[in-house]
């Protein structure tokens, strides 16, 4: 999962995503996921792993959590690779 090329961020008390001059504040509940990605973690499996640790090791809940993130920020995210879903 990656941010689009033209997305930038303003960090501070609040984390704000900027795309095409539109500012989108990232709520605290989503901030940690956004910062993981900003730190360069883009591998879906790695994200799942980290988020599931935060959710008491529940990988399925982590999947739902990340799916929610994708739904909320679809405008800011690159399209996922098919290969990440299907075995090639």
């Amino acid at each position: 999962m990656k941010w689009k090329q033209n997305v930038s961020f303003e960090e501070g008390d609040k984390l704000i995503a900027v795309i095409n001059n539109n500012k989108i504040p990232i709520p605290e509940s989503d901030r940690y996921i956004a910062e993981l990605m900003l730190a360069g973690i883009s591998e879906d499996d790695m994200l799942l792993d980290i988020v599931s640790k935060k959710l008491e090791g529940d990988e399925l809940k982590a999947g739902l959590r990340l799916a929610q993130f994708v739904e909320d920020y679809s405008l800011l995210l690159e399209e996922g690779e098919k290969s990440s879903v299907f075995e090639t």
Partner: protein
Amino acid sequence: MSYIKVPAVQDKLKRAEADYRAVIIMASTGWGKSAAVKNFYKYKNPLMLTVSDGKLSSMPNIYQMRKNIIIVDDLQELDDKESIGYIRDILRFDGVQVVLITRGMFPKYLFDMEMDLDFVRITEKDFYLDRAEVSEYLESVEVRVKDDVVDKVWRESLGYPRALFYYADRLELGENFSEDMNRYVWHEVFRYWDEAFLDKVSEEFREFVLTICPYKYFSDELVKVLSGGVTITRMAEYCRNITGRFFHGPEMINGEEYYYIGDKFKEYLLWKRNLSWSDEKNKENFLTAAAWYEEKGDTPNALYCYKQADCEDKIKELLIKNVTTHPGIGHYFDTKEYYLALPEDEIKKRPLLIAGMSMMCDLIMEPEQSEYWRQELIKYEKDENNSKELRKEARIRTAYLNIALPHKGTKGILTIMKNVFTLIRNGDISLPEMCATGNAASIMNGGLDFSEWSKSDNQIAKFMGRPLEVMLGKFGNGLVTLALAESGFEKGTMSPYEVTTRCGNGYEDALHGGKIEMGFVAVGIMVRQHIIEGQYPSAKRVLASFKEKAYAENATQLYQNIAAMEVWLSLYGGKTDMIDEYLSKLPSERVDFCITDRYRYMVKIRCLIVEERFYEALELANFLGVYYEKYERYFLRIENEFLKAVILYRMDDEHWKDHITNGLEYAREYHFVNIPAMEGGAVLPLFKELEKEDSSLNTGDEFYKTVISVTQKVASAYPDYLKYISKERVELTSREMEILSMLCEGKSTDDICEECGISYSGLKKHNRNIYKKLGAANRAEAERKAQWLGLFHRG
């Protein structure tokens, strides 16, 4: 009863007499068979024979007889061998005309003689009185009434002479036509049927007809269960001999054979049953049938029977049981009267009933009521006066409704799912079965609209795949694969090869350890893919093969949508023969609308377009539009906009531009290329007109260019799609076709005259003919008609 002369019967008797042919009159009681024959032959001195105790009343020596007309009445009673032999002899005898009268069918013992003797057959249809004959009869007995009364008498008597006689009787006394008169007349007819028919049949047959009469349709199995061993075959055979076609069928319903009794006779039998059966016997009959229906999973009929047996508790129990199935299988809509009949305080005692009400209200498009009941369920769970067990049930049902209620759409559904998942993990609840498709051949456009997810389909699938499979159980098999295949197909971002491969994989997953509903999704995508690729025979083959499988597995929940898909597919082939039956079977959306029928209604719009019933099509599209807005059905909203545009375009209403523009705008948001493209030649002319006004459309806009390209492909492959197939096809000469093509290409008058080598006045003449044949007033209209009749395709 004075004789009602029926011209059709008289004519046939005259014809038979002139040709000296044998006559057989076959009609049930009360049609006036004997009276007709008596009246016709009254001056001809026939020999009248009747039948009693199975034998002819007499068998005079044919050679010594001085009669040349022999009439045999009540032939249905005949079973004596000697008498049968006698009948055969007199039929073969030269110089004697034989007239046979029977309530039954053509006797088997005369089959071998049928062709040789070329019987004149007179049946019930011939005795049926039309309006003119009813009026004539009333006049002949000096009953002078207004035309509207004659209409009513004709309609209510059903053309049945005996009923007409009783109507005339009452009207003669100066009574006004009324419901009371109707009741009186038919009770008199029923009393006559008692005497003339039911009192004369065997005890077994009488019991049989009274046993099965309340049931709309009855199968051999139901008959055996209710009557302890009697079979329809035996009763049909008995019936055949004594009263012709008493019951009709078999008709195939959900793969099984069923029979039914005609309405009036059913009414009579119910009347008789109410008079002759005790309440206990009646109740026992209904309870037996109810149990049988319940075992078969036929909830609506089971409920009907329990209601007749006054079993309120069983009704409640069955409604509760019904709620444990998902809406695709459960009978919410067709049992709504039972839900609505329950007192509110009764409903509020049982969480399953509250949940059932919520779902049922949503299905009949009453989201506010649905919400009311969902809130009641939440209240129930919080109320500590309720038992722990029932509060847990309320919690489970609330979780289910939060995900599955159609009006809630998919906004926030992931958060809901996450919370539900927590409850599942904690062992607080286990979810009842959930089907994502709502019996549609789609996931994205299934029970809920998941179009929003298609924007990040791969990413969401990556994270959601496993949780969904866990939550949905067997309904999850193949789901992710198919959801992505569908999304890729609709957006045009997946190659045909990949779509087909993914569908194949998804189909296999679904059918091995999964659910057939997912198989239908795979089929739906493959059918649409084949259509886009111009592979019409492949599309038909895929659907036909799945239909066979669905029927073999008794997947009744899919039958209606499969049938709708068949009709829709036939439209691509330019076939319209399925339309009439399809439209006649679909209930009016204004009377009985259930949101699970949305796919069927979308196909109905297309059928109405083909039939040029534009106002009806528009009305339906507008009606559905309200549902799509209320329930966040984005996919269908897009489809609806394109269909509305087509309708308005054909009505020459400029607002088509608004709808096509809206359609494009909505489709663009999701990159849903194939929704407009599937409408092919129906929608292509609209795009072309739009381009005339805005030439920039087809240049910079990648989405639009893709839409046009695929739409053109579909239009070329299916020139007859949604084309009005006129009963009298437009017949243009080759010259006229040539000129019409040039007109549609936008050539000037001078160019056309020069290319065709004709004068200006010659061209004017051809144009006049072309406009006349197309029913067009001018060139623009002619061009438009030519395009949507498929006579000419631009682009």
